[in-house]
């Protein structure tokens, strides 16, 4: 069983309580994580993937504690992530970006210093991932030259190259056209069909509602709802959290 279990996680940045007593579990599903700006969604991702330590609380995956491990160790346990502010290796080609993920098992060993990274086996794996993410035509292009929508796809391709069991996607549809977002949803569903569990942070409500089997709503660092999309849509507190956000936006402008 590969269950992710987040238990009573809190995170404090100085005077700001970014997360407060957050608990959730997921296994075998596409889980949506939504909430207004500043709700703590990305902070939670950063804590699960080891980029931030929690102030208190525990996280386990497959029974193993994650909250004291470094990001590069957490990838090895089968949890890969993408970044909201995309981080492609810009001067490397799209192919090399994917190869960088394929090297994941080699990096900890001394073989990394002697073994060449372009072999027929690694290139075959990389091209399979490029085909799956529909990036094969761009293989030789520097990643920085790709349009933003394809760079978001490349983030996913690179994460897939580490062969994850759980994929954390941080706003993968941000800045995509409706058509691109539909393609992305298809890709995410096909990954899930292959047995990869997915947690996706999404701002686009209809995208999240259509894609996810279950949705967790964060507001001001706390979970205010955790249910199926149909129930979430009717939830009073969720509607208030989002309406409150809109009122605040109107007041600011």
């Amino acid at each position: 069983m590969t269950e992710l279990r987040v238990e009573h996680v809190s995170k404090r940045f100085g005077g700001l309580q970014a997360l407060q007593d957050v608990s959730l579990q997921t296994e075998g599903e596409i889980l949506g994580l939504i909430g207004p700006n500043g709700a703590g969604k990305t902070t939670l991702f950063n804590i699960i993937s080891g980029f931030l330590p929690p102030t208190s609380g525990t996280i386990t995956y497959d029974g193993r504690a994650l909250h004291k491990q470094h990001p590069h160790q957490i990838v090895r346990l089968g949890i890969a992530r993408t970044f909201q502010i995309i981080k492609p290796f810009g001067d490397l080609s799209v192919l090399e970006n994917v190869l960088s993920g394929i090297g994941m098992p080699v990096y900890p060993s001394a073989r990394a210093l002697f073994q060449r990274y372009r072999t027929s086996a690694t290139l075959k794996q990389a091209h399979a991932i490029l085909a799956q993410t529909d990036l094969q035509d761009w293989a030789q292009a520097p990643a920085a030259n790709l349009p933003i929508g394809l760079q978001r796809r490349l983030e996913i391709a690179r994460a897939l190259a580490t062969r994850p069991h759980l994929l954390l996607l941080d706003e993968p549809a941000a800045g995509l056209t409706t058509h691109e977002a539909e393609d992305l949803a298809l890709l995410i569903r096909s990954l899930h069909a292959q047995g990869i569990d997915i947690i996706v942070i999404e701002h686009n409500m209809s995208f999240a509602m259509n894609l996810c089997e279950r949705i967790v709503v964060l507001a001001q660092g706390q979970i205010i709802a955790n249910d199926t999309p149909a129930v979430i849509q009717q939830d009073e507190r969720v509607i208030n959290a989002y309406l409150g956000q809109e009122e605040a936006d109107v007041a600011h402008s």
Binding site: F51, H72, K87, F89, S100, G103, Y107, R116, Y117
Partner: protein
């Protein structure tokens, strides 16, 4: 043709090509800007001097010890890079350079300001290499070795991992690269290769003095890498040949050497940050246009 003067220049150029290529692994591959490379150059030179003069070992043992010990010291002195980044790392490496020179200067074991003299010349099967064309060949063989390591490293998983560390440390960690481990690799390899260059320098001159390895020399080596084209192999080689041999042709400019290095650095940063032979530099693009056919066929070869 190979008179003493030409040989001396060729030896120096060969040593500085090795130094520039070794620094390129740290700066160009791993993206860790160091202004303390002369410290590793010096540690190699002093290790070799101590091994041969104090402990009566052969040049070859001195060379090997210089490479190994400088590599280990490099790994240790690389530790600050795990805590500080960018401009703070530049300051930290500068500090390391000053400390290392001070140790050479004030610790009696290293001969103080008087340095260590009477280093033996290498010999093999009774043939001495001192000052001759043979020594020059040996130095360039070493430069070729440094080039080979640099080239091969860029083809390995470690080379790819260093690229990811240079571009984005968070993204590197997200694909499973231990950023600290690979930074230390880069420091150790870069330092070890500079240490070997130090040994060749020490035994060519026959003596070592602290000030040879001062901070200004670190600037000179970094200038060679940046002016030539950081991250490429041709760039540091070209930069070292240019900056090390130019003062010989421009004798009148000798005294202004560092003024010229400094001015060149500023101009490069402003107009050609990728270096004279960087991938998108004027010179390299022009060269590619002129030699388009051979370049195109080489690319086809690479692709196949």
């Amino acid at each position: 043709m190979f008179n003493g003067y030409v040989i001396t220049i060729a030896v120096f150029v060969g040593i500085w090509v090795s130094l520039a290529l070794s620094l390129n692994i740290l700066v160009g591959y791993a993206g860790q800007i160091s202004l303390g490379h002369a410290a590793f150059f010096g540690i190699g030179a002093y290790t070799s001097a101590v091994m041969t003069v104090r402990y009566g070992q052969s040049f070859w043992a001195g060379l090997l010890a210089a490479i190994l010990i400088t590599g280990i010291v490099g790994a240790i002195l690389g530790l600050p890079s795990l805590r500080v980044r960018h401009d703070f790392l530049v300051l930290a490496t500068m500090g390391v350079n000053f400390v290392v020179v001070a140790v050479f200067k004030y610790v009696d074991f290293f001969g103080g300001a008087m340095g260590i003299v009477n280093l033996p010349a290498p010999s093999l099967f009774g043939v001495s290499f001192r000052g001759g064309a043979l020594y020059m060949a040996l130095v360039w063989l070493y430069a070729g070795f440094v080039l080979l390591i640099s080239w091969y490293l860029s083809k390995t998983w470690a080379g790819l991992a260093l690229n990811t560390v240079r571009i984005d440390e968070d993204a590197a960690a997200a694909v499973g690269v231990s950023v600290p481990r690979f930074k230390i690799y880069a420091f150790a390899i870069s330092a070890a290769l500079a240490g070997g260059a130090g040994s060749f320098y020490a035994h060519f001159i026959g003596s070592v003095f602290p000030d040879t390895f001062a901070f200004v020399e670190s600037i000179a080596i970094l200038s060679m890498v940046i002016i030539g084209g950081v991250g490429t192999l041709r760039g540091p080689i070209f930069g070292a040949i240019l900056l090390k041999s130019a003062p010989e042709f421009l004798r009148f400019a000798q005294d202004y050497r560092f003024t010229i290095y400094g001015a060149l650095l500023v101009l490069m940063m402003l107009f050609q940050p990728s270096g004279l032979l960087g991938d998108d530099s004027w010179l390299w693009t022009l060269g590619k246009r002129i030699f388009r056919r051979p370049a195109a066929s080489m690319q086809a070869e690479e692709a196949s």
